[in-house]
C-alpha cells in the first residue's frame, strides 16, 4: 500500500471545500434573487437561504483566516515562496476588491436613485389632489344623499308602521336609494325596500352607526362593497313616539356609473402608489441587503480564490526555491514533482535535469576525489615509510610537503614549515642551507633534473647524502614545482669500504701468511746451520739478523691474524653477564706503571645484567683501553677513566660505556675517518683497533661515538642495548639494526 501524501489530501480537501462553497454560493445567490422577486416563497426559503449564505460566509471566512495565518506564519519563518504568495494574494485581492467596491457603491447608488426615480413629487401631489377632489365630490354626494334621507325620514316620521311599509318603496324610488329601511331600536326591521329583489334582508345598522346616532341623530359614510364598488350609507334617528322605541331610517345610495368607477380607480391608484411609496425604503434596504450579501459572498470567494490561485501559481516557484535551497545545502537527491505542461513545468523539468547532471558530476567528482585521496594516502604512507627524504616544492620554492625521513636526514622539522619559503626555513640550519644552496645554484644554471652527492654534518654526525632533483609535472590547475629526494648512503659507503677492507684483509692474510712460515723456517734453518760455522762477528750478525727475521715474521703473523680476525665474523654468542664486573676484570689487566695512573672506574652499580657477547665486549674494552694507552704513550700523568651508565635511547634501554683519556686528542679531519681500518694517528699499531670496536659494537646493534679536543683528550663512548630477556633480545636486535648510527 502506497503511503498517502498528506499535502495532496489536504490540497484536494481544500479544493473540494472551495467548490462546495462556490456551489453553495451560487445556489444561495440564485435563490436569493428568486425570493427577492417572489414574496410567496420568501418565508419558506429565506431562512434556508440565509443559513446557506451564512454557512458559506463562515466557511469562506474560516478558510481565508486559516490561509492568512498560514501565510503570515510562512512569511515570519521565511518559507520559500511566502513573499511571492503574499504579493500575489495582495495583488489579486486588490484587483478584485477595487472594481467590486466601485460596482457595489455605484450599484447601491443606482439602486437608490432608480427606485427614487419611480416616485415623482408632482405625481404624488397630483394623486393627493385627486384624492382630495374625489373626497370633496363624494362629500357633496354624501351630503345630498343625507338630505334625501332626511326628507324621507321627515315624511316617515308621522306615519304608523303599517303605512311606512306601504309607503317605503315609493319613497326609495323617489330618493334614488338602492335600499331604504326603517329599524326599531338597533336591529328590529320595521320595513325595508330594496332595488335588488333578491336581497330580502336589509343591511343592519352597525354598532358604530347606533353610537353615532345616539350622539348626533344622523350618520353618513362612504363604504366599500365586496364587488369593489362604493355606496353611501346614511341613517337618521327619528324621535320616539308614544313611548315606542326610536326609529332609525337607513338608506344606501350607489355612487352610480359615473362616480363609482372613478372613485374606485382613484382608490386603487392611491392605494397602490401609497403602498409603493411606503415600500420604497424597505425595498431599498432589502435590495441593498441582497446586494451586500452577494457582494460579501463574492468578495469572500474572490479572496479565497486569490489564495487558491496564488498558491497554485506560487507552488511551483516555492518548490523551485525549496529545491534550490536543498541543492545549495548539498542535497542533490532532491527532485521536484513534475508540474503542468507550461513554462513553469518546463522550468521544473529543466531543474530536475540539471540536478540529475549535477548529482552525477558530483558523484564522479567524489569518486575522483576519493581516488585522489587514496592515492595521496598511499603516497603519504609510502613517503612516511620511505628511508629516503623527500621534499616537494612549489614553483615559488615554498615547501609543499615533506616526509619524516627528510626531517631526520636534514635535522629539521620541515612538515611544520609547509607553505614557507625553503630559503627562509634553511637560514638556521647549515645542513639544509647547504642543500638549498646547491639547489639554487643548479636552478640558476637552468638545471632542474640533477643528482649529486653531499656530505652533511648534523649533531656531530656526518652523513653522505645523494640528493636528486626533478621537476614536478604541472597543468592549468597545479602549478608544477620541484621534488628533492635525499638518500643516506653513509652506511652503504661504509659497508662498501668495510667489505673492501674485509676482502683486502682476507687476501692479505692469505697471501702474506703463506710465505711467512717458509721465511721463518728458512731463517731458523740458516741460523742453525750457519751460526756455528761462521766467525764470531758474523755469528753475531747472523744471530741478530735471523732473530730480526723471526721477530718480524711473528709480528707480521700477528698483523695478519688481526686482519683475518677483522675479516672473519664468527657467530654471536650472547649470554647474561655483569658488565661492570667485566670492565673491572679487563681494567685489572692494565696495572699502573711508570708515569701512568691506574685506570679510574666510575661504574653505575645499579646497572642490570646485559645480554651480550662477552668475548666481543671484552675485546672491545681491550681495544679501547689499548688505544687510549697507546695515544698517551710517553705522556706524564696520563689517566684513563672508564664510566658505565644506564640510558634510554631510541626508546630502548641501553648501557653506555665511555673510555676517556687525557691524551693529545684527535685533529678534526681525522675524527670522521678514525673508525676506518688502517687509520691511526699513533706511531705504532695496526690501525684496526677502533675499526674492530665499531664492527663489534654494530654487531650488537649499538653505536660508537667519539668526542675529542686537541690537547684535552679523547672520549670514545659505546652504547649497547641491554637485550636482557629473549623478547628484549629480539627487540634489541631489531632496534639495533634499524637505529645503527655510523660514527
Amino acid at each position: 500500500m502506497e503511503p498517502v501524501d498528506t499535502k495532496i489530501v489536504r490540497r484536494r480537501f481544500a479544493t473540494l471545500l472551495l467548490f462546495a462553497a462556490l456551489a453553495l454560493a451560487i445556489i444561495g445567490l440564485v435563490l436569493l434573487r428568486e425570493i427577492s422577486g417572489n414574496s410567496e416563497n420568501f418565508s419558506r426559503l429565506y431562512q434556508t437561504i440565509l443559513l446557506i449564505n451564512a454557512a458559506n460566509a463562515v466557511v469562506l471566512l474560516s478558510l481565508i483566516i486559516v490561509n492568512l495565518v498560514r501565510l503570515f506564519r510562512d512569511k515570519q519563518k521565511d518559507v520559500p515562496g511566502a513573499r511571492l504568495k503574499a504579493r500575489l494574494v495582495g495583488a489579486f485581492v486588490l484587483l478584485v476588491i477595487a472594481p467590486m467596491a466601485v460596482v457595489y457603491v455605484y450599484s447601491i447608488q443606482f439602486l437608490s436613485e432608480g427606485i427614487d426615480s419611480w416616485f415623482d413629487v408632482k405625481v404624488e401631489r397630483g394623486l393627493t389632489d385627486a384624492l382630495d377632489l374625489s373626497r370633496n365630490a363624494l362629500d357633496m354626494r354624501m351630503r345630498e344623499n343625507l338630505d334625501q334621507t332626511r326628507l324621507a325620514a321627515d315624511s316617515l316620521s308621522s306615519l304608523p308602521d303599517m303605512q311606512i311599509y306601504a309607503y317605503l318603496p315609493e319613497l326609495r324610488m323617489s330618493s334614488n336609494a338602492r335600499e331604504l329601511s326603517v329599524f326599531a331600536g338597533g336591529s328590529k326591521i320595521i320595513a325595508t325596500s330594496s332595488a335588488d329583489p333578491s336581497n330580502a334582508i336589509p343591511l343592519l345598522p352597525t354598532d358604530e352607526i347606533l353610537l353615532t346616532l345616539r350622539q348626533q341623530n344622523f350618520y353618513v359614510s362612504l363604504e366599500p362593497r365586496p364587488d369593489d364598488e362604493y355606496f353611501v350609507r346614511t341613517a337618521i334617528l327619528l324621535p320616539s313616539r308614544f313611548g315606542a322605541e326610536p326609529r332609525i331610517v337607513q338608506a344606501l345610495y350607489p355612487l352610480g356609473k359615473g362616480l363609482g368607477p372613478l372613485a374606485n380607480s382613484v382608490q386603487n391608484t392611491v392605494t397602490r402608489y401609497t403602498e409603493l411609496a411606503f415600500l420604497r425604503k424597505p425595498l431599498k434596504s432589502s435590495l441593498t441587503l441582497t446586494l451586500s450579501i452577494v457582494v460579501l459572498i463574492s468578495l469572500l470567494l474572490a479572496v479565497y480564490g486569490a489564495f487558491f490561485f496564488a498558491r497554485r501559481l506560487s507552488a511551483p516557484v516555492q518548490s523551485l526555491v525549496a529545491g534550490t535551497r536543498a541543492v545549495a545545502r548539498g542535497e542533490l537527491d532532491t527532485r521536484l514533482p513534475s508540474g503542468e505542461r507550461d513554462e513553469i513545468g518546463f522550468l521544473v523539468d529543466s531543474f530536475n535535469d540539471m540536478i540529475e547532471q549535477l548529482s552525477a558530476a558530483r558523484a564522479e567528482a567524489r569518486r575522483s576525489e576519493a581516488q585522489v585521496e587514496n592515492e595521496r594516502a598511499s603516497v603519504e604512507a609510502i613517503l612516511a615509510r620511505l628511508s629516503s627524504g623527500v621534499i616537494a616544492l612549489e614553483k615559488n620554492l615554498t615547501i609543499r610537503t615533506s616526509n619524516q625521513a627528510a626531517d631526520k636526514l636534514l635535522n629539521q622539522d620541515l612538515r611544520s614549515q609547509e607553505g614557507r619559503l625553503m630559503e627562509s626555513v634553511a637560514a638556521d640550519n647549515p645542513a639544509l642551507k647547504k642543500v638549498v644552496d646547491i639547489f639554487m645554484d643548479k636552478l640558476a644554471q637552468g638545471e632542474t633534473d640533477w643528482r649529486t652527492q653531499v656530505r652533511l654534518t648534523t649533531d656531530s654526525v656526518t652523513r653522505v647524502l645523494v640528493c636528486a632533483c626533478t621537476v614536478l609535472p604541472g597543468s592549468y590547475r597545479s602549478r608544477g614545482g620541484y621534488v628533492l629526494v635525499f638518500d643516506d648512503v653513509s652506511e652503504l659507503l661504509q659497508a662498501q669500504r668495510e667489505a673492501a677492507w674485509g676482502e683486502v684483509a682476507r687476501r692479505l692474510a692469505h697471501e702474506i701468511k703463506n710465505p711467512l712460515t717458509p721465511i721463518q723456517l728458512s731463517a731458523e734453518r740458516i741460523r742453525r746451520k750457519f751460526l756455528g760455522t761462521v766467525d764470531e762477528s758474523s755469528s753475531e750478525l747472523l744471530d741478530r739478523a735471523t732473530q730480526t727475521i723471526v721477530q718480524q715474521v711473528e709480528a707480521m703473523r700477528d698483523m695478519v691474524d688481526a686482519f683475518s680476525e677483522y675479516a672473519r665474523a664468527p657467530a654471536m654468542n650472547r649470554t647474561n653477564f655483569d658488565l661492570n664486573r667485566l670492565i673491572r676484570q679487563v681494567a685489572d689487566l692494565y696495572p699502573a706503571h711508570r708515569n701512568q695512573l691506574p685506570i679510574r672506574l666510575e661504574l653505575d652499580e645499579t646497572l642490570p645484567a646485559v645480554n651480550l657477547d662477552a668475548v666481543r665486549i671484552r675485546q672491545v674494552l681491550h681495544n679501547l683501553i689499548r688505544n687510549a694507552l697507546e695515544a698517551m704513550e710517553g705522556q706524564e700523568d696520563s689517566e684513563i677513566v672508564i664510566r658505565s651508565y644506564l640510558l634510554h635511547k631510541h626508546k630502548i634501554d641501553c648501557v653506555g660505556v665511555s673510555v676517556r683519556d687525557n691524551g693529545p686528542g684527535l685533529p678534526e679531519e681525522d675524527r670522521e675517518k678514525i673508525f676506518e681500518p688502517y687509520v691511526t694517528t699513533k706511531s705504532k699499531g695496526t690501525g684496526l683497533g677502533l675499526a674492530i670496536v665499531k664492527k663489534l659494537v654494530e654487531e650488537h646493534g649499538g653505536e660508537v661515538e667519539i668526542e675529542s679536543e686537541l690537547d684535552e683528550g679523547t672520549c670514545v663512548t659505546i652504547v649497547l642495548p641491554i637485550g636482557k630477556t629473549k623478547d628484549a633480545d629480539s627487540a634489541v636486535q631489531n632496534g639495533g639494526r634499524t637505529r645503527r648510527i655510523s660514527a
Partner: protein
C-alpha cells in the same frame, strides 16, 4: 364630515424619535457581520415605544351539531411599524391559527389538523375607513376607526373547528390556538425587513385546550 375628521385623527402616527432610534441602531448593526446583525435586530424591539401586542383573552369550545365550535376573543394591538404600514395602504393579514395535535410519548406530537382563519385589514384612503376582509368567506366590513376594526377582528364567533368524530376526547388531543400577524402575506420588501426587525413579529402565545 365631522366623522371623517375624527377618523383622520385616528390614523396611526409614528413618532420621529422612534424612527431615528431604529435607524441609528440599524446603521450600527450594519457594521457588524450577519450573525451580529441578527442578534442586534432581535434586540431592536427593546428600543421601540409601541411593540404591539396580540393576546388571546378567551377561547370557548362547544359542540353544536357534531361540530366543535370555537368562540374566541382576542386583544389586538398593532406595533408602530405595522400601524405605519397600514396607514400607507399596506394590507395586514391577521391569522387565527388552530392546531390539533395528538400527544405521543415516543415521538413528537402528531398533527391531526391545522386550520387558520385569515382576516385582512386595510385602510382605504378615499373613504378613510378601515376595511376588514374575511379572506376565507369573502365577507367584508368597514370601520371608521382602527379600534373598531381590531375589535371586530378580535372576535371570532361560531367558528366550526372540527367534527367531533375526529377527536377522541381521550385527553391525548390538544387544541392549540394563537392569533398572529402573517408575515408571509406582507409585500416582499417588507418581508425581508420584517425578518430582521421585530416590529412585524406580532403573535400571541399558544392557547391550549384539551377536549373532554
Amino acid at each position: 364630515m365631522i366623522e371623517v375628521a375624527k377618523e383622520t385623527a385616528m390614523k396611526p402616527v409614528v413618532s420621529g424619535s422612534i424612527k431615528c432610534a431604529g435607524k441609528a441602531v440599524f446603521l450600527r448593526a450594519g457594521k457588524y457581520l450577519l450573525g451580529a446583525a441578527i442578534l442586534l435586530a432581535s434586540s431592536n424591539t427593546l428600543f421601540a415605544d409601541n411593540n404591539g401586542r396580540f393576546e388571546i383573552i378567551q377561547a370557548d369550545y362547544r359542540v353544536e351539531e357534531d361540530m366543535w365550535i370555537a368562540d374566541v376573543r382576542a386583544d389586538l394591538e398593532l406595533s408602530d411599524e405595522a400601524l405605519e404600514a397600514l396607514a400607507n395602504s399596506v394590507a395586514l393579514t391577521i391569522q387565527y391559527q388552530f392546531r390539533i395535535t395528538s400527544n405521543r410519548w415516543y415521538w413528537t406530537d402528531k398533527q391531526i389538523l391545522a386550520r387558520s382563519v385569515n382576516i385582512q385589514l386595510s385602510y382605504l384612503g378615499l373613504s378613510q375607513r378601515y376595511l376588514v376582509h374575511h379572506l376565507d368567506t369573502g365577507e367584508q366590513t368597514s370601520y371608521a376607526t382602527l379600534y373598531s376594526a381590531l375589535r371586530q377582528i378580535g372576535q371570532l364567533s361560531n367558528f366550526p373547528l372540527v367534527a367531533t368524530e375526529r377527536l377522541d376526547a381521550d385527553g391525548k388531543e390538544v387544541v392549540s390556538l394563537r392569533v398572529a400577524l402573517s408575515r408571509d402575506d406582507l409585500p416582499g420588501p417588507l418581508q425581508m425587513l420584517a425578518f430582521w426587525r421585530g416590529d412585524f413579529s406580532l403573535e400571541s402565545k399558544w392557547n391550549r385546550w384539551i377536549p373532554k
